[in-house]
């Protein structure tokens, strides 16, 4: 643990940063942000919304003043093969008088009007910061509306201040559990059928994985929540296995589904060649069917043979390049470290907004000596370590992009704004392509010359 100079950090932050090899020390994570920091973190509502939003035929109604609905209007690039109701923005738009007299009536009215207009089978009602404070009984309003319209109206307890984004994931999982229904351990499980948890179908990623699994003889029952819809989610208990990609948001749901429906779960990662192949093998091995295992090896061979030479050609271009990673959850950080290794890029800094203790341990095992590991970093820290470690590329989300550019550092969006699928074998090639297009762009030449000289 290196002590940070005062201008870069405060005492409270020092336990959230470690440098591998300097000292054996447990990184502190999963704590509240320090007040007054430029945190890159979001809130409970944000976490709940990102998990549930990809459900395409649901009506997502945000109960609160307008902001929370407008900032989340169609910002997540999760694709749909059918309905597109989820791409609208619905808000009760609470006004001053609602704050004083309560917003329950307006909420009930909003649900009535919207249900009449759009005829959805499923409505999620998101609670925002002030809902609990003004005393609205979300539960009761939703229950009454549900009875009135004979559809599912599910409250999402996502008041912004009750925790961080992880608490929002949990609130979303609770809403999903309500939708799926009560415990039933004796129900019928379809053979060779999985639920795919924690893929939000950004740029169509879930479709790629679904396709791989279909090729080896496994059906995806429903994806949580990419391109999911009401019917498919309702049938979730019929799968015989849950596979989890984004562990941060979905482990809790998988555990509950194990308790409720006796569905076992395994963790997978379809990011990078190595992880994709390993995960496919893991799923095949679970079912133990020899045909399935053979098909899996065939698929891996075919796909790998197709992309390996492309990856190798990029590898040469990337020799000596260093990357910094700052993403939402630990799962993604871990996969990216491995994926960068595949394309010959060393990760010199890695951080997450909401990584867990066990994930940070894995990260620490994976990275080289001297790599900076940090939780809930602020821009000043990101800048300091990117410069210190000589990173050529930053992987992050919306807010990190211009920061990287200003430093003359290339950038890869591994968040909502990604435009190409980064999953599976094809995703590994896309990642290499995207890294190349930013890392090796001629625009950086104009910077290095240092202006008009």
């Amino acid at each position: 643990m290196s002590a940070l100079p005062q201008e870069h950090s405060v005492k409270e932050r020092q336990d959230s940063i470690s440098i591998k090899g300097k000292q054996k020390k447990q990184l502190i994570c999963d704590t509240d942000s320090v007040a007054g920091c430029v945190s890159q973190r979001a809130c409970v509502y944000c976490g709940a919304r990102v998990v549930l939003n990809p459900i395409t035929d649901a009506l997502h109604l945000v109960h609160g003043p307008i902001g929370c609905a407008s900032y989340t209007w169609d910002i997540r690039g999760s694709l749909s093969s059918g309905a597109d109701l989820y791409r609208n923005s619905f808000s009760t738009d609470l006004r001053e008088e609602d704050v004083i007299f309560g917003g329950e009536k307006k909420l009930a009215l909003a649900i009535d009007e919207l249900v009449q207009r759009y005829q959805p089978k499923l409505v999620f009602v998101y609670s925002t910061c002030i809902i609990g404070v003004i005393g609205d009984d979300l539960e009761a309003v939703c229950k009454a509306a549900s009875a009135r319209h004979n559809i599912e109206v599910i409250p999402v307890q996502s008041s912004g201040f009750i925790g961080n984004k992880s608490a929002g994931y949990r609130a979303a999982c609770d809403a999903l559990l309500r939708l799926i229904g009560g415990p039933d351990r004796d129900l019928y499980h379809k053979a060779k059928t999985v639920n795919y948890l924690g893929d939000f179908n950004l740029a169509g990623e879930a479709w790629i994985i679904k396709n791989y699994l279909r090729q080896i003889g496994i059906d995806v029952n429903v994806t949580f929540t990419g391109d999911a819809n009401f019917e498919a989610l309702k049938n979730a208990p019929t799968a015989s296995l849950n596979i989890i990609q984004c562990a941060g948001s979905m482990t809790y749901l998988a555990q509950k589904m194990y308790e409720n429906y006796n569905i076992p779960f395994i963790n997978v990662s379809f990011l990078g060649l190595e992880d994709t192949a390993e995960s496919l093998r893991k799923v095949a091995a679970f079912f133990g069917d020899q045909d399935l295992i053979r098909h899996t090896e065939e698929l891996i061979d075919t796909e790998d043979a197709e992309v390996r030479p492309v990856i190798e050609s990029y590898r040469k271009e990337f020799s000596g390049k260093r990357a910094a990673v700052y993403v939402g959850g630990g799962f993604k950080a871990i996969s990216l470290i491995k994926q960068f290794r595949e394309i010959g890029i060393e990760v010199v800094m890695v951080g997450t907004q909401t990584g867990r203790k066990d994930e940070y341990e894995t990260i620490n095992d994976l990275v080289e000596e001297g790599t900076v590991v940090l939780d809930d970093a602020n821009p000043t820290e990101l800048e300091k370590f990117m410069i210190e470690k000589g990173a050529h590329l930053l992987v992050g989300g919306v807010k990190e992009r211009p920061l990287a550019y200003k430093l003359g550092v290339a950038f890869l969006d591994h968040n909502h704004d990604r435009k190409h699928p980064l999953s599976g074998f094809v995703g590994a090639v896309n990642l290499a392509k995207e890294v190349y297009s930013t890392l090796c762009s001629p625009v950086w030449n104009y910077l290095e010359k240092g202006g008009l000289k």
């Binding site: 609208n88 404070v133 211009p402």
Partner: protein, 454 residues
């Protein structure tokens, strides 16, 4: 969404579908970025701050820095005093801005956090300044939040210290892009008049690439300038929704006469802006600006037949939409649907008066949403839609040419660097409008009607 909107209009009372506004705090954050070396601070949950920074980052494609009180359950029960005090300590210890500009959120307003009393109990390092504005998200819109923060600047900083007012003008530019602010400043400079523009986000959210990340880029109105606004001879508030309140406050506090004008979009509004400056400060408007105006009018006459009688639907922030509607009318186009998400009857009054004067009728609404706007268009189709990025859904559904003006623009770049204000800005608007209309004509033309010269 992509086309869910029914044509039949029914009364709705349960909130908004596809809003044409967002909440106050983001406007306050944007205004505060227009103070030199200022860190905006969001007093509320950290999601608010994160969303505002994300939205502004997407619009400006520049780093947007702001801190948050990071509310927890405890803070919302016991009040946010402790969080705010810690935040103030940390902000100056870590980031060391000259100014910390606090705005509230719906949460902190609802639990009744009293910011001034918290500030009284906080330790602010010597020479540093903390200002604040109340920005409840459940009232007004992002434009109101902008206005409130600008008023906060006056409340905390403006001082009348000279006996005789200085020969300088205060200009409050409104919620516009840094490219607009640069253009407004250029116009005043060409007029040869000393000025203080506040807030001024140019040089902050359009900062150049240097290979260094500057937490506080060079731009922004400085604290001495903000103080000196109390000594100016006149304040011009450009836009009644975003700027007038602060100008009136400055008149009240420091006896600086306030004059409220339209946002200088289009010939007439730019004329009025320059004439107001001339009337108070100089004998005549320099030829350079006469020439620009003449060029604009020349362009308008060269191209008027492209525009005449075309129907237009306009939505966005009230000050911009009001001025834009006036300009659209001056081109011979017909604004048939005009809408803002921001509440305020003055908007409807002003637009209706313009339409009446032109002998036209149209749908006009404040506090509306894009669902309704789309319904209007379904009922009376138009040739062009003007608005922010969210208009693209309607433009696609109805296959109507669309130009992006206003905030936010999330799917195109460079817009924040180039003005829509002044004669140059009007030229740019004419170019955008005619390109959109003529591109469409080219696209739809049969081979025999496809023309080289248009």
């Amino acid at each position: 969404m992509l086309n869910h909107t029914p044509k039949e209009i029914q009364e709705r009372k349960g909130g908004l579908i596809n809003p044409a506004k967002t909440c106050q705090p983001i406007g306050a954050m944007y205004a505060a970025l227009g103070i030199h070396k200022c860190l905006p601070h969001s007093h509320g949950s950290q999601g608010c701050c994160s969303y505002h920074r994300m939205h502004l980052t997407r619009h400006f494609r520049d780093p947007i820095m702001a801190s948050t009180s990071s509310f927890t359950e405890g803070a919302s029960v016991f009040g946010g005093g402790a969080n705010l005090k810690t935040a103030i300590k940390n902000v100056f210890a870590i980031y060391n801005p000259d100014v910390m500009a606090i705005h509230t959120t719906c949460l902190t307003e609802t639990i009744g956090d009293d910011i001034p009393s918290y500030l009284g109990q906080s330790e602010v390092p010597e020479g540093k300044i903390v200002i604040h504005a109340n920005t409840p998200s459940y009232a007004g819109s992002h434009v109101t939040g902008f206005s409130n923060m600008v008023k906060g600047m006056v409340n905390y900083l403006s001082e009348a210290t000279t006996e005789v007012k200085k020969e300088q003008v205060n200009i409050i530019p409104g919620f516009v892009n840094p490219g607009d602010m640069r253009e407004i400043k250029r116009l005043v400079r060409v007029m040869g008049i000393n000025y203080i523009m506040f807030p001024d986000t140019s040089g902050v959210v359009d900062s150049p690439m240097t290979g260094k990340f500057e937490m506080f880029p060079r731009g922004g109105t400085t604290v001495p300038e903000l103080k000196d606004t109390g000594n100016s001879r006149l304040t011009l508030a450009l836009g009644s929704f975003a700027s007038t309140d602060a100008a009136i406050q400055l008149e009240r506090k420091c006896k600086v006469p306030a004059k409220s004008l339209k946002a200088p979009v289009g010939v007439k509004a730019t004329d009025e802006f320059l004439i107001a400056l001339r009337n108070s400060f100089v004998k005549e408007i320099p030829y350079e600006l006469e020439e620009e105006r003449g060029q604009l009018v020349d362009i308008m006459t060269d191209t008027h037949y492209h525009f005449h009688g075309k129907k237009v639907a306009i939505f966005g922030d009230p000050d911009i939409v009001i001025a834009l509607t006036e300009f659209i009318l001056s081109l011979g186009m017909i604004p048939v649907h005009v809408l803002t998400g921001t509440p305020g009857s003055a908007f409807e009054k002003e637009i209706k008066a313009m339409l009446l004067e032109a002998g036209l009728k149209g749908n006009v609404k404040a506090a509306g949403d894009l669902f309704e706007f789309h319904q209007w268009i379904k009922n009376e189709p138009v040739d062009l839609i003007i608005g922010n990025t969210y208009g693209k859904y309607i433009a696609r559904a109805e296959d109507i040419p669309f130009i992006r003006v206003g905030f936010p623009i999330l799917d195109r770049s460079v817009h924040s660097y180039l003005p829509i204000v002044g004669y140059k800005g009007a030229m740019r608007l004419v170019e955008m409008i005619s390109n959109a209309l003529l591109d469409r004509q080219d696209r739809d033309a049969a081979d025999e009607d496809f023309e080289l010269v248009m």
